[in-house]
């Protein structure tokens, strides 16, 4: 059986950044496995700009951002296999993969980095009554059709869900000559970035209807119209508010979920809130030597944070493969999400393995104005940071210094919460 130090599953921005960081840390025997015909992941279809402001201090499009990392991978001559699907990962890190040339093959890895990204929520979860005629697409599928295949799904469009991909596609289809009639959002706030609401909707006078949903879909073979209604505080449609819109396309932009079938089969424990693996400070899952980063760990909106997080996983995996990260005898601290904080990454911390500082990333469950992000060490508040705004669409983070952890030797639990 082939033996390598690190196998990276997925060649998107997470996998690429992890590979580069692992290599620079000294791991030279790395292999990236990617099921697509090119590296770059979802960025290849995200042709709009706005990527890389943090990392490169300039606004790049998705493919340009990916290209920067692909070049770093080629400069280091890090090996990768394309059109190669990983089928299984065993708890002792034997990776089974398949492609046309080699058929089914196995690789024994000292460390595995999960970087499979995420996929869109299936529309079955949307609970729209009525038929399922042709002409209904997820926003990401439409993005691939328009941007990669150059095929326009339709001319008259209604979009349900105001996540960023839906907003981006509202502009994209308008530029390609379609009439986007409206974007309906079930929640009283948009899940998308302000910048996208302004530049994708306002610029083209596309209305955004908050607290609205689709209550009926018409058309037997192909969609011909939808009915939109306002929803109350209970998110149930309000009678008498229905409005009918003719359309030939309905795009659903209803969120993303990490792609973890492989992980679960390997015995990796998932966090029910994120649907991503439960990890410690080194981004290691409950299966020793298996690490996770990027959208497979939790859905990111900014690719810059994906690269940053993945670089961390690359370094810790490289150390693990060298046998440096494997001492589990030290103390372990739990990280808890409370009062408005939906989840944290990581959920456990071994202070012995924290270098200079620990970054805890999290998301809130609602919009908070003029509130505080507080960090508690057991019952003592150690941080109380004022935030003008906190929104579910924006990932937040707090940084804790290793010094602080060392100064609190009896610490059992770190709690992150939002306080008025």
């Amino acid at each position: 059986m082939n033996k390598v130090d690190i196998v990276i599953v997925g060649g998107g921005p997470a996998g690429l950044a992890a590979a580069v960081a692992a290599y620079d840390d000294g791991a030279k025997n790395i292999l990236i496995l990617e099921r697509d015909e090119q590296l770059g992941g979802i960025l290849n279809q995200c042709i709009h700009n706005g990527f890389g402001l943090h990392t490169f201090k300039e606004e790049l499009t998705g493919p340009e951002y990916a290209d920067r990392f692909i070049r770093q991978v080629s400069e280091r001559k890090i090996p990768y296999l394309l059109n190669t699907m990983v089928m299984e990962i065993s708890p002792d890190r034997v990776v089974t993969a398949m492609n046309r040339e080699d058929g089914m093959f196995q690789i024994e890895a000292k460390a595995v980095i999960l970087a499979m990204g995420c996929r869109e929520r299936p529309r079955g979860a949307l609970n729209i009554p009525g038929y399922r005629p042709a002409g209904i697409f997820s926003a990401g599928t439409a993005q691939r059709l328009v941007n990669i295949e150059g095929y326009m799904p339709g001319k008259e469009v209604v979009i349900l869900g105001s996540g960023d991909i839906g907003l981006i596609m509202a502009r994209r289809m308008t530029l390609e000559g379609a009439k986007v009639k409206l974007v309906a959002e079930l929640m009283p706030y948009s899940g998308g970035l302000k910048r996208n609401i302004v530049q994708c909707l306002d610029d083209f006078d596309i209305p955004l209807r908050l607290s609205h949903t689709v209550v009926d879909i018409e058309g037997k073979e192909h969609i011909t119209a939808v009915t939109i209604a306002e929803v109350g505080a209970d998110r149930k449609p309000i009678k008498g508010t229905e409005e009918r819109y003719t359309c030939d396309t309905l795009l659903l932009s209803c969120g993303l979920i990490p792609e973890n079938e492989l992980s679960t089969a390997a015995g990796v424990q998932l966090n029910p809130v994120t649907n991503g693996p439960v990890v410690n400070e080194s981004l290691e899952t409950n299966i020793e030597g298996v690490f996770a980063c990027g959208n497979v760990l939790h859905v990111h909106d900014l690719v810059d944070y994906v690269s940053e997080e993945a670089a961390k996983a690359g370094v810790t995996a490289s150390r693990y493969a060298r046998g440096e990260q494997n001492d589990d005898s030290g103390r372990e601290i739990a990280v808890k999400a409370e009062g408005g904080v939906r989840y944290t990454v990581p959920v456990t911390v071994r202070p012995d393995h924290v270098e200079d500082q620990l970054t805890i990333r999290f998301r809130v469950g609602d919009v908070y104005k003029d509130s505080y992000v507080s960090v508690y060490f057991d019952d003592t508040r150690v941080r109380h940071q004022k935030k003008r705004i906190l929104a579910p669409g924006e990932m937040e983070q707090v940084v804790i210094l290793k010094k602080q952890l060392d100064e609190t030797p009896d610490l059992k639990t770190i709690t992150v919460k939002i306080e008025p």
């Binding site: 290849n44 042709i47 709009h48 700009n49 606004e59 790049l60 499009t61 998705g62 493919p63 340009e64 290209d67 328009v146 941007n147 990669i148 295949e149 150059g150 530029l175 390609e176 970035l193 302000k194 910048r195 609401i197 302004v198 530049q199 306002d202 610029d203 003008r388 705004i389 929104a391 669409g393 924006e394």
Partner: protein, 119 residues
Amino acid sequence: METKELTCINCPMGCLLTVEMDGDEIRDISGYTCPRGKTYAEKEVTNPTRVVTSTVKVVGGRKDRVACKTQYDIPKDKIGAVMEAINAAQAQAPVVIGEVLIADVAGTGVDVVATAHAV
């Protein structure tokens, strides 16, 4: 006197900005929480610009389309003209990232460049 309403895009606060215009002259800007909002409003009402991204048809290669962008931002009211030029254009494979696909698009003085490779 004309009143324009804008949303500042510089941070998640998304302040609602109100600009009082007298013809081409700004009389008053209100609603911003920090100076970035004021600067944004000034630019948006006097000279709004955008980077346009799309795809250009490719012939002679394996891929049918290549992603592209205007290298710099162009006046917002030229978006339509720029899109027409992009849709009329055709590139010959292989295309390398950064390659100029349309020079001086729609008289804006800005080039449309490839943002991906196409072989």
